[in-house]
Amino acid sequence: MMLGYIGRRAYHSVISVIGLLTLVFFLTRLTGDPSALYLPLDSSLEARQAFARLNGLDQPIYVQFFQYLQNLMSLDFGQSLRQNRSAIEVALEAFPATLKLALVAMTLATVLAIVVGALAAARPGSLFDRVAGLVSLAGASTPDFWIAIVGILVFAVGLGMLPTSGTGTALHWIMPIVVLMLRPFGLLVQVVRGTMISALASPFIKTAHAKGMKRRKIIFGHALRNSLLPVITVAGDLATGLINGAVVVETIFGWPGIGKLMIDSIIQRDFAVVQSTILVTAIAIFIVNIAIDLLYAVLDPRIRY
């Protein structure tokens, strides 16, 4: 049953990925001729034609597209113009940096949001609830680039506590993670609080009280488990956003992830790399979505695929 379900989902995803790659193929080629960027300004017409011929850019666009599809079949994703090596290698090399960042930021955001949201819901209207509401609202609605720049200004330039950009030490991780997790954290606190309040009003919570269960166990055992489904839906959506490449944050902090690679490749008209980054993130997002669906079935025994 389960394998059949994953197979069906994979089949549907392949169709949409092919559609996506088609779109990206033509859109990137609208950005202009790469030879204008890769050859010296004063290079001859012959040199430009040779460059185009070498990279298959002299063919009509539909021939190029057909060629691209054919190469895809044999898992040839094309060459990076910029780095002169396999485009997929370039994309896969950049991906772990993004993945690690996304994983840490999402895990922290989700765990913190569940604790804060559950405690806020346990006593609605309390001081804790109101502070949590204010902080989460601010986190969810402040633009990340603004926080990133102000963060650099205060902690790196002003106080000199943290590096401005790049990777290397553990200190390099702090600002990207905090900036990335603020929005997911804020949104998730609101979702957890809302679903927890309705879960705590459910009849089975009354049963738990009638059984004489401890309040903490009722909140974190019975109510939380039942309020997790919508939380996971939102968390999954936010996670795909981060995997997709936190383009702005990666660019600001000079983080060598897939988001930064994507932007750089678009600017450099490195078509094969743009297509490869999109393929890699699309597959990652597909995996995240499958994982969320399976998590549903684990969390709620009434869901079967």
Partner: protein, 557 residues
């Protein structure tokens, strides 16, 4: 069984307010009662009478706020319950006072196995963990009559039937042998035959453990079957209390008398019936509705026969009652007759024309002549429309019924016909009680001047005293307007008053059909007999006071 002991629980002059927006609402007003070990106290009352609130305070299940105990005392075995802190309350709940509720599906946590949920009772009170508890839970499940308990312990609530879920709730409640079991409408959501088994189980458990049973119900038959003593509540007050037999045979308060007289008895006066039914209005022949189960290309094809080869005839001015438990296919028939679902096979002739061949304009015309009244008067009305627009909506759809100038006049006529007032037309559905809303639904059905009205559990959601009023209204309209009814219900006593003929349905088939009185007096089919037997007998009339322990649990639910 009336133990002469001193009461285990005594509630004295309890008054509870609910703080809604604005003024506090008095939910419980100066209520006193007590219950002794081994005794069954029934709190009888209709919805909103304050019966659940008064027991909710015993368990501390009323949230404060919005609830507020204004005055009074609750003393359990020498302890003042209103003075308990959370920990003290937690110690009592589940161990010494336990509770079961009306709707076990909602009151069980859907994401945990029943075994785990029962085990929590032991764990919360430090009565062991892990494997030892598991054995206790299996024994409990066996005791309440769950077959294959050692396997079913790992099932989730949705994998049990309604009756079994209530058995699971009971197992949870009796786990630590409480002194008091509070049962809040424990059988209201169950079919009659299942209800009888659950009541039997509760009586057996009480006999074994000697616990006091406080049972909250609106159902007079259940009350009579269970009660040693009864208190009757109305509008938050106790209006009558005493020994069960006295209250039933000689009710002193006007409200109690009204309540008692609302119960249909065999010897109750019949509502008027048409002496000579007219020509055939509806003829149903070999009607079937099958559903295919298993949708994937590889899963085995199975068929579920919701309605299986059903035939019957209805004459003008006549009422046919379709009786059966949930899942018997009664509502599927109604939906097909109204062309809301298409049948798999079979035919239905309405005034000589095939219902299932109607298309377009002819279908519109047919729908005018057949109307439906649903079970839930809350859900079947648009809350944003006022009564005038609800009733006049059919005229907006079928333009030829009534010219717009006459709409207001006719709305008033219809409201008066169903026993409401002219000025009710401007109000919205939420401003009416359940019974009044069902009257509005009937007025809406009458607006298109139908010949046949299909009532699908039309009075099941109403309090008993209201049920009879609505039945009388329907009978009166039958007389005055020459209407015919298909009256679908799970409640046998109600149709006895009202139907000319009865079809008894089980698993999609008609198992018995006959004239109403004949069917009640000498039922032929085994299932009909079960249904009739399942109507509980009063406790003081029962001749079998001591069934062997364990006998009551053999029935499969």
């Amino acid at each position: 069984m009336n133990a002469p002991d001193k009461p285990i629980l005594r509630i004295d002059k309890l008054t509870v307010d609910f703080l809604s927006e604005g003024d506090p609402v008095r939910a419980v007003d100066d209520v006193s009662f007590d219950v002794c070990p081994g005794e069954t106290l029934v709190i009888l009352g209709e919805s909103g009478s304050g019966k659940s609130v008064s027991t909710g305070t015993v368990m501390g299940l009323i949230d404060c706020p919005p609830g507020d105990i204004v005055s009074g005392s609750l003393v359990f075995d020498g302890t003042d319950l209103s003075g308990l802190d959370d920990e003290g309350r937690r110690e009592l709940n589940g161990r010494r006072i336990a509770m079961i509720f009306q709707d076990p599906l909602a009151y069980l946590n859907p994401v945990y196995t029943v075994g785990r949920q029962i085990a929590e009772v032991f764990e919360s009170h430090g009565e062991g963990e892990g494997g030892a508890v598991r054995d206790k839970v299996v024994r409990l499940l066996e005791r309440v009559g769950i077959p294959e308990a050692d396997e079913r312990i790992d099932y989730y609530p949705h994998q049990f039937s309604g009756g079994q879920r209530q058995r699971v709730m009971i197992a949870m409640a009796i786990a630590l042998k409480p002194d008091i079991l509070i049962a809040d409408e424990p059988t209201t959501a169950l079919d009659v035959s299942v209800q009888a088994q659950i009541l039997e189980l509760l009586r057996d458990l009480q006999r074994e453990t000697g616990m006091a049973l406080i049972m909250i119900t609106h159902d007079l038959e259940v009350a009579a079957a269970m009660a040693d003593r009864i208190i009757v509540m109305n509008g938050g007050k106790v209006v009558e209390s005493g020994k069960a037999e006295d209250v039933f045979t000689n009710p002193s308060h006007a409200y109690t008398r009204r309540l008692m007289s609302a119960v249909p008895h065999a010897d109750a006066p019949k509502v008027p019936r048409n002496a000579a039914p007219g020509e055939v209005l509806l003829q149903v022949a070999h009607l079937s509705k099958h559903y295919k189960l298993g949708s994937g290309p590889f899963s085995p094809k199975r068929e579920f026969r919701a309605v299986d080869d059903v035939s019957f005839t209805l004459r003008r001015g006549e009422t046919v009652g379709i009786v059966g438990e949930s899942g018997s296919g009664k509502s599927s028939i109604a939906r097909m007759l109204l062309r809301l679902n298409e049948p798999t096979s079979g035919a239905a002739l309405f005034a000589g024309e095939d219902i299932f061949k109607f298309k377009g304009r002819a279908l519109d015309g047919f729908r005018r002549r057949v109307q439906m009244v649903f079970q839930d008067p809350f859900g079947s009305m648009n809350p944003r429309m006022n009564v005038r627009s609800i009733i006049s909506e059919p005229w907006a759809i079928h333009r030829d019924i009534l010219p717009r100038e006459r709409w207001n006049e006719r709305v008033v006529e219809l409201l008066e016909l169903v026993g409401l007032k002219a000025d009710h037309a401007e109000r919205h559905p939420h401003q009416f009680s359940g019974g009044q809303r069902q009257r509005i639904a009937i007025a809406r059905a009458l607006a298109s001047e139908p010949e046949l009205i299909v009532c699908d559990e039309a009075v099941s959601a109403l309090d008993v005293s209201i049920q009879m009023q609505v039945i009388e209204l329907l009978a009166d309209l039958r007389q005055r307007l020459g209407l015919s009814y298909v009256f679908i219900t799970h409640d046998l006593p109600i149709v006895r008053q009202f139907a000319d003929r009865i079809l008894v349905m089980q698993r999609g088939r008609i198992v018995e059909e006959g004239e109403t009185e004949a069917l009640f007096v000498s039922p032929q089919h085994e299932y009909t007999k079960t249904l009739l037997r399942a109507v509980p007998q009063p406790k003081w009339l029962r001749s079998d006071p001591a069934p062997i322990a364990g006998q009551g649990i053999s029935g499969k639910v």
